[in-house]
Amino acid sequence: MSVPQGGTTAVAAPLPYVDPVRRAAARRRTVRDALIATASLAVFVGAVALWASRLPGWPAVQASFFDGEILRSSFLPTLQALVLNIKMFLVAELLILPLGLVVALCRRSRAPVLFPLRAVATVYTDVFRGTPTLLVVFLLGFGVPALDIPGLTPEPVVWGTVALVLSYGAYVGEVFRAGIASVHPSQGMAARSLGLSQWQTSRFVVLPQAVRRVVPPLLNDFVSLQKDTALVGVLGPIEALRQAQIISYDEANFTPYVAAAVLFIALTIPLARFTDWLQARQERRTSIAGAR
């Protein structure tokens, strides 16, 4: 992923010449564009706020959703509960990546002897992609502990996380599969022609290229996973959304939900921006220049 830019050509190219008048004009345009963007945003936000505040129901909504006092008091407990979401998310992520990769490899295997693997992987993908994630959480979170299997923990957080892993593993498997399919067959042909085995070709030529290509869609799935950790709350563990719900019942006010929403957004934004950045970099690399 880290292709060093610029070659090792011995002769340094002369600096490109840009007419100073045009350079100054371009700089003025940049400043002007930034000012216009800021002003436009301020006008837009102001207009929406003005419109909302003049609605007849606004005072009631403000009292039940945007109570400053409750917002302050519910913020810290919700943030503390968010630690559980982060834990679930980190553990799930580490398990989903290998699971998805294995599923993708099984689904792409062609050897007749591996047919059972291919069949299992296909059924797995169909089932877990087709089932609502919340339903998987319910089934595993209440079902498995009820079985009372010796040696298996009945801890709902564990089974809720397993449910997320199984559900997202199916999606991530498809992402990996698409990535592998996007590597041109001539790459495999070139590798096999050098004497690399089928496995070595996958490991050293096809997969490295496939994984690089799917990083943005993969991160997109992880952004989604970060907030879906809230689903595990239905099993009882106090994660951020469940904590907000409890405070909300106590206070008879919806503001804690807003606090939880803000926290979830704050959690996902860094990953979302990182995804944007990676995607932009990939576009620059493939040098697709847009028209102005």
Binding site: G7, T9, M189, R192, L196, Q209
Partner: protein, 259 residues
């Protein structure tokens, strides 16, 4: 080792209803440079791909006699990885691995197939790249190289496995005309070094220069074969004459004409 290094006998190959090779006989001795000419679709590429087992033949035999072992490529039970360790091939589209630098492209197979250490494989790769004028591009990635440089790296990558024979499949056809020369210079150097080569090309002038033997293919058969002087100077078969006449007026094939 008795007999030619490469021997093809009565090779047939079809893709669906389309018969591409129809009874090819070809023997290539060690150190020999054999050039295949013919219009696009005459079967040159398919012939080469039958030699390293990228295509399985429908009938006939392909035998590779290397010091220490005789490999029947056309046999379904043959170890194709063993065949490909001994046969280098370079493609029209270079097919470098874009996620690896030039030196990593070259060192990959020696490391993974021949189990050389990374240091050893990369040192050898750098030396080989330097020999073909690519020392200062060794750490560049394929998309930072010109077409000619990429193709030279692809040739070096094939040579790094120390093959008994190298196949060139129209390796200059995707290049801008001004880049063709640097790639052909590399091939020329290999011919003087005594490498065994089978080459499909549209570069008639080059074929005439380096070939020991030229084969004219048409519709999946070898129509005429001989020394370059015979084929280019006094072709006997009417189809050979027709092809060479069209090539020299630049209408025979898509691109890559240089007669």
């Amino acid at each position: 080792m008795t007999g030619p290094l490469l021997e093809m006998t009565g090779v047939h190959k079809a893709f669906g209803p389309n018969a591409v090779l129809r009874g090819i006989d070809l023997q290539v001795a060690e150190h020999e440079v054999v050039v295949l000419i013919g219009a696009s679709g005459s079967g040159k590429s398919t012939l080469l791909r039958c030699v390293n087992g990228l295509e399985a033949v429908d009938a006939g035999e392909v035998v590779l006699r290397t010091p220490g072992s005789t490999l029947t490529v056309s046999d379904a039970r043959v170890d194709l990885d063993a065949v490909r360790r001994r046969v280098g091939i370079v493609f029209q589209q270079y097919n470098l691995f874009p996620h690896l630098s030039a030196v990593q492209n070259v060192a990959l197979a020696p490391r993974r197939v021949l189990r050389r250490s990374r240091g050893q494989a990369e040192r050898a790769a750098r030396e080989l790249l330097a020999r073909f004028g690519l020392a200062d591009r060794a750490d560049a990635y394929p998309d930072q190289l010109s077409g000619g440089q990429q193709q030279r790296v692809a040739i070096v990558r094939a040579l790094a496995m120390d093959p008994e024979i190298v196949l060139f499949d129209e390796i200059t056809s995707a290049l801008d005309p001004q880049l063709v020369g640097e790639v052909l210079d590399v091939v020329r150097e290999l011919t003087t070094a005594g490498m065994t080569i089978v080459m499909a090309t549209h570069e008639m002038g080059f074929a005439r220069d380096v070939a020991h033997r030229v084969l004219f293919l048409d519709a999946g058969t070898v129509v005429e074969e001989g020394t370059p002087a015979q084929i280019f100077g006094a072709p006997t078969h009417p189809r050979t004459r027709q092809f060479l006449a069209r090539v020299s007026t630049g209408t025979a094939t898509r691109g890559g004409i240089d007669a």
